[in-house]
């Protein structure tokens, strides 16, 4: 606030048009400063013999920020100079963030495509030594699909009903508590959900769980709050006029909800559930505690250890040799593809079925 006012003050005595006619840097100035900074930065870097090119880049970046501040401050004034610095810092933060994220995707694709073929997708690790190449993720895909399907079958109805309670019925203390704890539940770490199911299992059966179903229960806990929050948002978007029109025709409230409110919001609800599925499909910590992983195909989630894609990646990583690393990267690629396809589908549905609230 202060410098806006202060900077304007000295001009009050000066002739009026001078403010609009202050000197401006030409449009190519940032580009020019950038080129200069890169030349000097790389020159100094090469002359000093720095091995890392990242250091060259950082020096150039520093020179660019300092240079544009100094030059702009001389020509246009301090406020404009600050603006330039802020602009370059914001651009820099964007570029800084893009580099690791790009590298992550690029590494996964280039390394993951090495071991990825038909055999990899249709075979398990049964009778494959960890130091051998070969083997596959079929058993892990089966495990992931079954565990996620069970979790969704439990979490989606309960989550949607909870959201309906909050939006359509919820008044008073209970609704406030549920809202608060849904938010808190969003932050429950996945490993804690796993430990919870573990301790329930100890109390109920006296032994540790070794089956996919236990993992599904932990995933259910992680999925519930996500489903509730997204469904809640979608139900709130349904215009009240629709509810009132239906109620005015004498339709009972529960029929209004099932026949008017939910069909209007169904696209958004589906999107929310699919995004939640995409999130829990990548969870490995509860699986590590509850399902234990297995090298063979086990189609029964209620008996015997299973595997899952994220846990498979972890196992292959801990094997610590090149064929295992290759398998880990390929499995990572499969998992990312699965999650991304779910995401893209969910967003497509959201766009296609968006409630038409406007006229």
């Amino acid at each position: 606030m202060s410098d806006v006012v202060n900077d304007a003050q000295p001009l009050s005595g000066a002739p009026a048009p001078s403010r609009l006619a202050t000197a401006r840097l030409p449009r190519w100035a940032p580009l020019g400063i950038a080129v200069g900074a890169i030349v000097v930065g790389f020159g100094v870097g090469a002359a000093a013999g720095w091995k890392s090119h990242i250091q060259w880049g950082l020096l150039a970046l520093f020179l660019f920020v300092a240079g544009s501040y100094a030059i702009t401050a001389r020509v246009e004034g301090r406020r404009q100079a600050k603006d330039r610095v802020a602009t370059s810092l914001i651009w820099a933060s964007f570029i800084l963030a893009v580099i690791p994220l790009y590298s992550l995707v690029q590494t996964t694709i280039s390394k993951g495509s090495k071991a990825l073929d038909g055999t990899f997708l249709t075979h398990s690790m049964n009778n494959v030594l960890t130091i051998q190449p070969g083997g596959g993720v079929y058993h892990a895909i089966i495990g992931t699909l079954e565990q996620v399907a069970i979790a969704t079958a439990i979490a989606a109805p309960i989550g949607i009903l909870t959201a309906i309670y909050l939006v359509e019925y919820g008044v008073g203390r209970l609704a406030r508590w549920v809202t608060f704890f849904v938010d808190v539940m969003t932050g429950v770490p996945s490993i804690v959900a796993g430990l919870f199911i573990l301790s329930v299992w100890f109390e109920a059966t006296g032994q540790a769980p070794h089956e996919g179903f236990a993992g599904s229960l932990a995933l259910t806990i992680l999925m519930l709050p996500v489903v509730v929050r997204s469904t809640e948002e979608m139900l709130k978007l349904v215009p009240n006029e629709l509810r009132e029109a239906s109620l005015a025709l004498g339709v009972p409230k529960w029929r209004t909800i099932t026949k008017v409110v939910i069909p209007t919001a169904v696209g958004g609800i589906t999107t929310g559930v699919m995004l939640a599925v995409a999130r829990i499909a990548g969870e490995s910590a509860p699986i590590a505690l509850l399902v234990f992983g297995s090298d063979v195909i086990n189609n029964n989630p209620f008996q015997g250890p299973q595997s899952s894609l994220p846990y498979y990646i972890y196992q292959q990583y801990t094997n610590g040799n090149d064929p295992s690393y290759n398998r880990a990267w390929s499995a990572a690629l499969v998992l990312i593809a699965f999650v991304m396809i779910l995401n893209a589908l969910a967003r497509a549905i959201a766009r296609w079925k968006a409630p038409k609230t406007g006229r």
Partner: protein, 326 residues
Amino acid sequence: MTTTAPPPTAPPQKTRTVTRPGDRIFSGLSRGSGIFLLVVMAAIAIFLTYRAVQAISKDHGNFLTTFEWNASLNPPVFGVAVLAYGTVVSSIIAMLIAVPIAVGIALFITHYAPRRLGGPIAYVIDLLAAVPSIVYGLWGALFLVPHLRGLNLWLDKYFGWTYIFHKQDPNSAPRSLFTVGILLAIMILPIITNVSREVIRQVPRMHEEAALALGATRWEVIRLSVLPFARSGIISASMLGLGRALGETMAVATVLSASPQLSGHILDPLGGTFSQNIVAKFGEADEFGRDALIASGLVLFIITLLVNGAARIIIQRRKEYSGANA
């Protein structure tokens, strides 16, 4: 079906609403789901506490101040001091790196990027929020760790005098809390960016146009009208990211080389975090060892509960600024 027909014989002076069985069942079901959710949360707290108390009562060390984790010894000695320290330090490093950059990206998307690019960039960052943590862990361990060796040496050489950047063995692999912090920062970047961007979008255009009309530069518009409006939203976004960083398991388990030492030198490969310790020790633990791990999980649960609860309360108190009702 018969329940849907309005009762035709209702006397006109009676204005009380009629509750039909269908209505009662449906509202009961939905209320029941809400109560179920509360029961689950309570059950998590009760079961973890119950198992944890059994473990802690047999602990021959001090549960809060002991460094080692030897639950299989006789008598067992274990404590969470190193784990709590490692969890907090790595999360703080992650927050220090991620929050300014995430807010920068959010501002970039909303105010700086060419209009046509803003949408696709936001979409890509949305997608990156969905990358599973184990993939970040794999990338961190096999790609980031070797590439951070140079930065580690450089920090040790020029900033070793600050104590925190001193490295006892310059040649040790950078599987340290510092590297974990950087990886966590990359992981929580998308979520903080997404939430902050949503909040920044809610800033009334009038505020910005008023600032522009007063002759403010673009940065002054952001500092005077955008950031004050979005502050509590950005805080809650950061808290969400912090919650993720505190509980992150696999990415830490793959990157950190853990040891029961507590040190201010964040570049040294030592230390541990709650969830990393649970995954690392779980395989070899017997039933008592697992109870001990459950006890450490309880501490993590309480910490995340406090962070998330605090975030909620901050937003509730400043609801008029939170952007949710703008």
